[in-house]
């Protein structure tokens, strides 16, 4: 087999479309996963059983079922009784929701890692609950879990091609279509390289953050 630049040229417009989908899914998915995960983690520490228990049940359920099943569920079952979303939006919600159950565990570990003396000092100063969370506990907890959270961004990038199954053609989805139509291998090679080009700098950045934040 010989590398044929004309195949590359033909594929590139599809590649840019796919890249845009991948990056959108990753950016919005991360935003959802990071904020929703924090919400789960705080809810799981509520003193109200009726908050704690359902949240634990839902997050356990999502974490222990495949992302692909959840994507199909969101795309085909949810519209029966809820909102109908475009493939890309569904993919973003699916990725974000799925990964929020993992980031929740990361936040939980970070929150539990804050010494109990910090809560006690906040009580001794009569600081309200909300202020204790926002000014004392979370800044300390999040700082030490940023590297662990970052790992899930890389994981999410690698899981993002699954959204092609519901029709949101990410870069791998585009490459697959192109390859099956032309029986060439350039497209899939380019996408492979693109994953490394996105993921590797992210990993490096994470290591830098880790050195700076976790002391």
């Amino acid at each position: 087999m010989n590398w044929d630049w004309s195949n590359v040229e033909d594929f590139m417009p599809h590649f840019w479309d796919g890249l845009l989908v991948t990056l959108q899914a990753l950016a919005w998915g991360t935003l959802i996963a990071f904020s929703l995960g924090l919400l789960w983690a705080i809810a799981q520490r509520s003193d109200q059983v009726w908050i704690r228990w359902p949240v634990t049940a839902i997050t356990e359920f999502i974490r222990n079922t495949p992302l692909l099943v959840q994507l199909f569920f969101l795309f085909t079952v949810v519209p029966e009784f809820g909102p109908t979303m475009s493939p890309l939006t569904t993919g973003i919600v699916g990725l974000g929701l799925h990964y929020s159950t993992y980031t929740a565990e990361v936040y939980r570990a970070g929150i539990e890692g804050v010494p109990v003396g910090q809560w006690e000092a906040a009580t001794a100063l009569s600081l309200p609950k909300r202020r204790t969370w926002t000014a004392i506990i979370l800044p300390q907890a999040i700082r030490r879990v940023i590297p662990a959270l970052g790992n899930y961004v890389v994981s999410m990038l690698k899981d993002s091609p699954q959204i092609a199954a519901i029709g949101a053609l990410d870069m791998l989805g585009e490459a697959k279509g192109f390859t099956q139509a032309t029986f060439t291998y350039e497209a899939i090679s380019i996408v492979g390289i693109a994953f490394i080009v996105i993921a590797y700098p992210a990993s490096v950045l994470l290591r830098v953050l880790e050195r700076r934040l976790v002391r």
Partner: protein, 271 residues
């Protein structure tokens, strides 16, 4: 020892007068089946400096933690300044206090911890101003003014813009003292505040506390193993054993002519 156990059943009730600030009434605290405080009655008069001594596990720290509402008693009531701390009266009945009510009464109480517990994500200044701004509603300027005065009192003015991790243990503890005082509490609880410090740093912290004890009318409850310090600042020393006050008196009396056999044993072991 049998004579001891019979006498330790009698609870000494040290200060019963009109100006009592803190009152424990038949307070029982258990951890599982282990009884830490057993129907403890005691009171502290306003402005007094009281030191709690006794073997570890005798319930001294538990008293401070109950007062700070870091834990709740199984039975009995605690009053601070005539108000219930753990309970409130609703329709003439005594019910467990709500979080909001407790927070209000608790504002009168400050605490300094063995492990300092400064907020590591905040600079020294903000550690001190955070609660006065958020809880007492002081303006940022007022709170900073107050913080500067307190930092001067504890001798740390030049460290105002540092993070706690940049300070020595003794300096951190002095910031913690300033932080507690910034709330202008009526009662200051000191829980083995020098136990976690390197020996050469203890004196600086104790000097600050002596200064506060001699120049303010703040009521102090102090758990310490520093007997010389206790002698210096205390109006009264309470000897604890197995969750009861077995002897109470002035430092002169307790340290020089203790009546109780357990007190004598304890003092000869620590002095």
């Amino acid at each position: 020892m049998s004579a001891d156990s019979s006498t330790s059943k009698e609870t000494v009730n040290p200060t019963v007068d009109g100006s009592e600030l803190i009152r424990f009434d038949k307070v029982t605290k258990r951890f599982g089946s282990h009884v830490v405080l057993d129907e403890l009655d005691f009171s502290v008069a306003s402005g007094k400096h009281v030191t709690l001594i006794g073997p570890s596990g005798s319930g001294k720290t538990t008293i401070l933690r109950l007062l700070m509402t870091l834990m709740k008693p199984e039975e009995g009531t605690i009053k601070v300044g005539g108000e219930y701390l753990t309970h409130e009266t609703k329709n003439g009945k005594l019910v467990p206090a709500s979080e909001k009510y407790t927070r209000e009464v608790r504002k009168n109480i400050g605490m300094v911890f063995q492990q300092f517990n400064l907020f590591p994500n905040m600079k020294v200044l903000r550690n001190i101003t955070e609660a006065p701004v958020q809880v007492l509603g002081l303006s940022k300027d007022e709170a900073e003014q107050r913080a500067r005065e307190l930092l001067e009192l504890v001798g740390l003015t030049e460290h105002i813009d540092k993070y706690p991790s940049q300070l020595s243990g003794g300096q951190q503890q002095r910031v913690a003292i300033a932080r507690a005082l910034a709330m202008r509490p009526q009662v200051l609880l000191l829980d083995e505040v020098t136990s976690a410090l390197d020996p050469e740093l203890v004196a600086g912290v104790l000097d600050v506390l002596r200064d506060i004890a001699h120049t303010t009318d703040i009521t102090m409850l102090c758990v310490t193993h520093e007997m010389n310090f206790a002698r210096d600042i205390s109006d009264q020393v309470l000897m604890f054993d197995s969750g009861r006050v077995i002897e109470a008196g002035t430092p002169e009396k307790i340290f020089t002519e203790p009546e109780h056999e357990r007190t004598r044993e304890f003092l000869s072991a620590v002095l």
